[in-house]
Amino acid sequence: MNEAKAVEVRSVSKSFGTYQALRSVSFDIGANEFFTMLGPSGCGKTTLLRMLAGFETPDSGSIRLHGREVLDLPPHRRRVNTVFQNYALFPHMTLEQNVAFGLENLGWDRARIRARVGEMLERVHMETMARRRPGQLSGGQRQRVALARALAPDPEVLLLDEPLSALDLKLRQAMRDELRKLQRDSGITFVFVTHDQEEALDMSDRIAVLGAGEVQQIGSPTEIYEEPANRFVADFVGETNFFDVEVLETVAGQATVRTPFGLVITAPETGVAGRRRATLSVRPEKVNLGDQAQGVTMQGQVVNKNYMGGYTHYTLDIGGIELRASRRNASREGDAIAAGETVNVGFAPLSARVLAS
């Protein structure tokens, strides 16, 4: 595999008027990687993507594509293609013409364009509609054509700006797998933007969590979920319980803290060394109930219960402190704990996380 970096973003900052959209953002993307920028809306994801495409210029910092500085290159000279959020298919062209557009501009000869267009439309299962216009397609079909159009010129990097957000739930799920497959088959570097954490966790090789114009954490989906770098990441990715804790000691990445339940526990930490107060994050599915309770165990009363079919979410009251737990209903009797019942509650300290507040 090629070890060269596909994308290098170095200390990129950008302001719109007085509003600072990006603050010294840096990251690398490896060749053939499925890289996701995840963050709440307004955190600067689109701005970053538009910088890679060349539609936006950073105020400072540099951007390299395959080792080459690109800030002086206009969009049409960058070997980068974009799948736009609203697809941006040309309404006056047939699907064929849409897919051929980039190839024509690159100066491919006719026979080669024809072959490539056919191949691409086939790859996204749209070959039977080649002569139709975008106006006659459903959202999912437009999505596929937009993908075919962007992949046809075989770009070095493919940029996707929330491409699934306009699709309905079922289709979105299917498109995730399809996108992932397209990425593996084509070997093209994908830079994928989304505010949907599930999408990010499901598809990515690596995720950069963006918040407030800054990179909050970069890592594999498991790292992002299980080892969040700060409170923002733990909160934005997945569900979690936060508790204010007092730090007693930090040793070798482990913090010993006093919890509001009165218990003292030792759990992995990030950025807590030297602080007195911190936040303990415990994911609901890491909390076990009843006879499954292990690790740190307490008594809690079920104050609310939400049956979701595959899961049941419980809200527990532990000496006046609220804790949410979720439990997989592995058997039909899985949902046996009733609201109002007092049960054993436990979680393994290793699966919790102490974070800077």
């Binding site: 495409a53 060349g54 539609f55 206009p74 969009p75 049409h76 000279r77 980068v80 293609n81 974009t82 736009f84 609203n86 941006a88 298919l89 040309f90 309404p91 006056h92 557009f101 980039g102 501009n105 690159l106 216009r133 106006g135 159009r149 962007a150 010129p153």
Partner: protein, 308 residues
Amino acid sequence: MSDSALHNPPLDRPHRPRPWHNLPFWGLLPTWVLMGFALLVPVVIVAAVSVATRGTHGGFTWDFNLASYRQILFNEGWTGEMEFTPQYLMIIARTFVLAGATTLICLIFAVPVAYFIARQTAGTKAVLIYLVTLPFWVSMILRVYAWMIILGRGGPLPRFLESFGLPPGTSFMFNDFATLTAMVYTYMPLMVLPVFASIEKLDVTLIEAAHDLYANRWTTVRKVILPLTAPGIVSGAILVFVPSLGAVLEPTLMGGGKQMMMGSLIQLQFGGGRNWPFGAAIAMTLMCFVVIFLIFTAHRAARKGDVA
């Protein structure tokens, strides 16, 4: 709507047609009447006059006669023989060339202006659009007189150019250049507005998508912007071309009246020439050209209609 539709489900009662409830027809009746009197009746009158016979001392008599149409192409000699004369054909041709030139020049200026306006913020847009339509608030004849002063001997433009060595006493008046200047000026807003409307409607991400797919500026204009704004450009061209064909004021005042256009020719026949049937015949001819032009463009638009 009638309230019975609200209270009773329409299923159980057979629907009786009540023609006076036919809103599309009766509601539009005033429009039909107005259109009839303002459009159809005058056209019928002009058509009738065009086939009437010219009176000896001006005026005309209701005797069917195609002489006026013949007169457009042929000159009747003393002995009654018909001799082909291209003088009126030349005027028709000039009219088309000048109207075409006006349309083209308006288009060349209007597209960048409209593009510029379309890219401003909402507030600035409103102000700029207002400014574009501003000349309409001043009487057209005043505006043409203003141009006569600007271009005429001793006017600002000649004076300005004289300071760069143009011989003193130069005038830019009374030629086709002057006519064109006034026509372009007069009809420019009619081009800017529809072109602006279509450019504003254009989704900017399509332009970005074109650049993203390796199209340079020119390719983007040619393959994306022009095809998608064509409806606005066509409407603008019609709005400028059609009234340009009938222009009277500009060729008379700015062109000096020596080099006529069809509009001034028609006016002359109803005025000093005292040949109403001939004037009406030219007017009918002009109208035929306009109708043919409109049918042609409408046909083309319909053929490309599946685009939108």
